[in-house]
Every structure is written in C-alpha cells, then in structure tokens.
Amino acid sequence: MTTVVETEGLRREFRARRSKSGPVVALDAIDLTIEKGEIHGLLGPNGAGKTTLVKILTTILIPTAGRARVLGFDVVDQVDEVRRRIGLVFGGDRGLYTRLTARQNLDYWAALYDVPAAVADTRVPALLERVGLSERADDRVEEFSRGMKQRLHLARGLVGDPQVLFLDEPTVGLDPMASLRFRELVGEIRAEGKTVFLTTHDMAEAEAVCDRVSLIDRGKIIATERPSVLGRWINRFEWVEVHDLPADLGERFRAMSGVASVETRPDGWSRVQPDADGVAHAVLEIVVGAGITSVRTGSPSLEDVYLHVMGGRGMEL
Amino acid sequence: MSALRVTAHAAVVGFEDTRAQYTLMSWLFGWMVRATAQVLFFAAMGLLLGSNDLILFAFIGNVAAMPALHGMAVGPDTAWERGLGTLPLLVAAPRSMLPVFAGRSSFYIAQGVGEGTLIFALLAPFLGFEGLWWWLPPALLIVSLGSYGLGLFLAACAIRRPRIGNIIFNLAFWGIVAIGGVNVPTSVFPGWVQTLAEFLPLHHGLLGVREVLATGPSWEALQQFGLELTIGLAWFLIALVAFRTFAESGRKDGTIDLVE
C-alpha cells in the first residue's frame, strides 16, 4: 500500500480579530495517514476541525505547526505540485458561478487546472454525462436543484483528473435519493483508483462508503479504524432488539448475568445489550419462546460508536 | 401606534447593520473622504468656467444632494433585504412591510443630514462662502425627508427586480442631480424638463436651502420646503401602494422565495 496523505503533529490555531483571549486551537497534534485507493472518512460534529484539516491538505491554509504531505509533496513548500494532483469538492451551494451554465463552469475550471483544450473538449462532456447533467449542460446553474449543484461540484472536482479527491461534507442538505446517488458516484471514483478523503457528520454515509473512518472531536483525532472495527470497540457482542418488550421480560433480562443493559426507546423498541458470549442466543430463545416475533439483532453501528465517544455532544447540526 | 413600534424596532436593526459595516474610522476615511471629494469635484467646475458664482452654486447644490442620496439609498438597501432571504418572512408577518423598510433605513436620514452639514462646515471657508448657515441642518433634513418617499418607491421597484436595484437607484439619483438644479439652475433646460424637475425630490428643497443660506428664513424658503415635503409625501403614498401591490402579486405568482 502506498501512503498518499500523511500528517505529523499537525496543528492549526486561529486568532480571533477583536478578541482579547488567546488563539482558538482548531487542530491539535493530528497524525493521519491515508492509503492509495482508499475512501477515508473524517467523522465529527460541527466545529470539530474537519474543514480546517481539509483546507490544510488542499493548501488553502498553512498549518501553525507540524507537517502534511500529499502524494509525497509538502502542502506548504510544494504547493504547486500538490494543487496539480488534487481535487476539492465543498458541500452546499457555494463555489459555483450560478449565472453561467454547467458547461461554462467546468470549462473555466478545466483551464485553471491546466487541462489542455483538446482534452477538456472531451473530458467536460464526459464528466457532465457521468454526473447525470449532460441534458442540462447548457442551462444556468441558478436553475439547478441542490442535488444537481452538488453533482456539478463533484464534476468540477474531477475536471483536473486528480489522484486524490477531497470532499468536504458533500451531501449536506441533499435529500436521501440524491445522497445515495452521490455515494454511488464516489464508489465509482474509487474504482478508478483514485483516493478519496471525505468529511461528514452523517454516520450512515461514513458507514456505507468509507473503508476507514477517523473520528475527530475538538481538533483531535480520537480513533482511526474500519467502521466495523470501531463498532467492536464499544461492544463486540451482538445486541437484540425487541418491539413492545413486556415489562416482566425486561426485568428478567436486566437481572440476567451477561446482560450489560436494557434500554427502551420512544419508538417502542428495546435493546438488550449482552457483554458475554452466548447471551444473545439465550435472550433470543426467551423472546421467541414468549411468542414475540418483532425481533432483530445487530452489531454496534458507527452511530453507536459516535454517540458513545462524543457523549452528550451528539449530532448537533 | 403599533406601526410606529415596528418602525422603531426596524430602525434599531438598520443602525446595527450600518455599525457592522462601518467603524468610525472607516466612515471618516472612506465614505466622508469620498463625499467631500465629490462635492469638491463639482464645485471645482467653477475653476474651469472662471466663475466663483458657479463654485458656490455647485458647492451648495452638491452638499444638498448628499441627504438626497442617502434618502434614496433605501432602494438598494431594500434589494439587499431580498437577497438576505428575510423578505418572505416579512411578507408573512401580519404588518405591512412598509414600516419595517421605513424604519430600517431611517438611519440614512440622520447620516445624510450630518454628512451634508459636516462637509459644508469644512469647505465653506475655503470656497468663499460668507454668511450664516445655522439653518442648514434643518433645511437638509427637509431635503432628506423629501427624497425618502422616492427612495421607498424605488425600493418597491427594486424588490420586484433585485438585480437591477442599483441601476434603478443610480439612474434616479444622477437624473435628479443632472436636471434638479444642483449644478446649474433648471431654467437652462427645456420647459418639459423643468416641469419634470418640479415633481421630483430635491429641486424645491434645494431652492429652499439656497434661500436660507442667502437671506435666512423667509416666506420664499418656507414655500419651497412646503412644496418639497408635499412632493415627498406624494411619493411616499405611491410607495405604499407599490409595496402592497408587490406583496399581493408576489404571493399570487410565487416570486417570493423561501430558499434563495
């Protein structure tokens, strides 16, 4: 495996303009590596430092301390080399020239990414086709839906044929269908051998798309692992969920050896979390034996990990 | 009374918006430098024409144009309101939009009068004005109030087409400056242009300003100020109708966006 992104002790402070207090530490001692061909997620709440990290890796910001290299080039001293090889996609509506057409936007950025004219003549239409915008290529972006704008953003990020693509909250504000389509596109991009670094606070997205996920909170990386492994960090045992769990059964499970917790949610599902081998099986037998058929089992999700690690901060928007 | 409350609250918003844009230093060295230079630029025409009378005429005219400029600046300011996405929230509110916009931009009146007075005080000694000018601030207040109504009407037009808000404003302002008696008396223009100027803001107020600076308060000056306020009120009423019409048609054709 080749490392395409690596950071060592990366730190970024911001000084507030009219504040008398000290600097704000947005990133602190970030050590991160991303391998070639990987889709790497950075998951954290708002203000955790995700966008700051993306901006450093894409040369928009200079770190206060530490180093970062993309494809072997330093993001501070070898800026031109980095910029030629990366693509950047922001989420939301900003960054497009809405009074221009989709094609005009891409032609412009192709030139800024030094794509030869002959190559751009084929690449731009191909990208528009790929993101499903070829029929709207000559319409003004201001007429596009949010999902269409995001797809155009993705096309813009790919126009320079980057080796590494940075996506900063790319599906924010998209409806579920649009998000799903976007994720499919990201999967296709990885299949071409590109490396993708994706920031998000959407757990489902990170779990569905990423090979590895780094959890970030208050400027620090808490953990980096595959989503499934992260889940096991909380509890490697399967849970059992029962709908409309009778109170007496609930008390029985609470008193049962090898059961860590029994929690009931407002939607009527109760989760029985074992913390010993074989207990899930025993719980299931009791539930089925009681004639209850609304039952499901599963492993801890990334959301469970996230909530467990972030504690009360949860998923603030 | 409740419309007044709305206006007062909106005025506070307007003041805070201005404070966010300008510090005292940036207002002094940015805007005031420009405004002073603008007055000087046109007053200096007298040097080319070899006429001290023109220097003073254009000086007074362009000083008075300052409060008119600010009064009319409600137009683009309101177009900005639409761009903020707050317009649909205002339309949905149970009051006419007019008190809100009137209040938000009322700080422009104070700004225009203050600037005009300050520029006059600075330049009058150098440009050869001799006389008392105690009545200038209230006279400029009347000029500003007179322009306010037209500014609100322009605001209504700007709301329908926010992208050309600045164009509407600048066309109106420079048109009035060109024919309103700011740099030359309106008598140099053809009759129909003079008639047009009579029904636009600034013209009568400026005549009143010239009168009070020349002779102090007089019946002639009072008449001109009366005409200025009457025309200002007429434009104000037209603006009221225009705002109501916009709100209705905007609701009918769905041009009021929730997401811009």
Partner: protein
C-alpha cells in the same frame, strides 16, 4: 496564458448576465447632460471636449473601482475564492484577466457620451486625432484595469471593501483632472495629481480630441504606459502576497 484567456472569457459571460456590471454605464448619459448643461449655461462651446470626456473617464474609472473592484469580493461571497486558492492557476493571473473583461465594457462610455450629446444638445464633436485618442483610451483602460486589480485584491482582507472603493472614487477623479485640468487646481494639489496616472490620461485625451497639435506625445504615452503596466505588476505581486497572508491567517475562512 490559457488560464488568463479562460478567465477573461468567463468574466465576459458573467458581465453580460449580471445587470449590476452595467450599472455604471447607465450613469454616463445623465452625467453627460450634467456637464453639457454647465458649459451651455455659460456659453462655452469651446469646452465641449471637457464635457464629453469627463463622463467617459468617470465611467471608466467607476467601472474599475466598483465592478472591477468587486471581482474578488464576489468570489469571496460565493465561496469560489477558496476553490481558486486550491487551484494550480495563480489567482494573481486570473484576477487581472477577469478585471480586464469588466473594463473592456467601460469603453462603451465613449459612444454613450457622444450619443447623448448628439441627442440632447445636438452637438457633434470633431475629433482632431482619432487614432491617438483610441490608443490613449485603451492605455487608460489598461492602466485602470491594473489599479482595479490592486483594489480588488485588497478586498480579500477587508470587511470594509466598500469603504476602500468609496475612497478610491471621487478623490481620484478630482486629482485625475477628469473635468477640471490639473493645471487649474491649486498648486499644492498638482504634485499629488501627477501621481495618479488618470491625470496624464485626461490631459492627453482632451488634447487628442480638441488640440490641432498635441505636444510631447511619445513621452506622455510612455508615462501613461509605464504607470499603467506598473499597476498590473503591483497587482500581480500584491495578490500573491495577499493570498499567502490569507493562507497563514485563515482570513478566507473567517472573514
């Protein structure tokens, strides 16, 4: 070079679709009437060149200060500034090219002023040296473009970009001798005016229009060219310095 051309083309497309970029041109007819009414009131047809050139130069200058000066500010507002910061093409090349596109529309002021004069006062100006006039106007536009590029780069760091644009308007028009030649202004102001390249342009434009013989053309053109090109060079360097500073302080992110 390709990036500069693409940036020019892109901005031209934007200009055609953005009414605010046309705002300044709408002022030209009204200001032409303003100046013509003054010389008419004083019976000075010999000053016709002044009355038509002044609104033309005001439009060119205003286009530079307001619309040219807004190129970077607009990029900042719509989030494209950060994308430019991450792109290989230097922003210091992209910005002057885009400002040049805006400025090329400023030359519309010439037919607007001439047309207004013909329609309202029935005047037809006899241009003594049309080719010299064209060269000077192009140089004035180029020089103003450089100045606008400097101005727009300053808006990256400032929240009060409008303030900067305000203070760059009428003070420069006054010092630039746009209507009243510098020679007629108080003596102490003249050295200041000579630092503003617009004053060189104003005098040369008036002479090209009205003077049978224009003195010192090569030297004056050289000064105009040098000052104009200097503006471009300064703008390019300034944008590089500003973008570097923005990367260090994070001002794009927080402003």
């Amino acid at each position: 070079m390709r990036a500069a051309l693409a940036a020019f083309r892109m901005q031209m497309s934007l200009v055609f679709r953005t009414p605010n970029f046309w705002m300044v041109q709408f002022i030209t007819p009204a200001q032409t009437i303003l100046f013509l009414s003054v010389i008419d009131a004083f019976g000075r047809p010999d000053l016709l060149a002044h009355a038509i050139i002044a609104p033309t130069l005001i439009t060119i200058w205003y286009t530079a200060v307001w619309t040219g000066g807004s190129v970077v500010r607009n990029d900042r507002w719509n989030g494209a500034l950060e994308l430019h910061a991450a792109a290989p093409a230097p922003y210091g090349v992209v910005v002057p090219a885009r400002v040049a596109a805006v400025m090329s529309m400023a030359l519309l002021a010439v037919p607007l002023a001439l047309g207004t004069a013909a329609l309202t006062y029935g005047v037809d100006i006899d241009i003594q040296h049309p080719w010299l006039l064209l060269v000077v106007l192009v140089l004035v536009v180029i020089g103003t473009t450089g100045f606008a590029a400097i101005l727009t780069s300053m808006t990256i760091l400032s929240r009060a970009a409008g303030t900067i644009q305000n203070s760059a308007s009428y003070p420069f028009l006054l010092l630039g001798g746009v209507f009243v030649p510098l020679a007629l202004l108080p003596a102490w102001i003249r050295p200041l005016g000579r630092l503003v390249f617009l004053s060189w342009g104003s005098d040369l434009v008036r002479d090209a229009v009205a003077e049978p013989v224009v003195e010192g053309v090569p030297a004056r053109l050289a000064v105009l060219t040098a000052l104009g090109l200097a503006g471009f060079v300064v703008a390019h360097r300034l944008i590089r310095i500003v973008m570097r500073r923005v990367r260090v302080t994070g001002e794009i992110t927080t402003a």
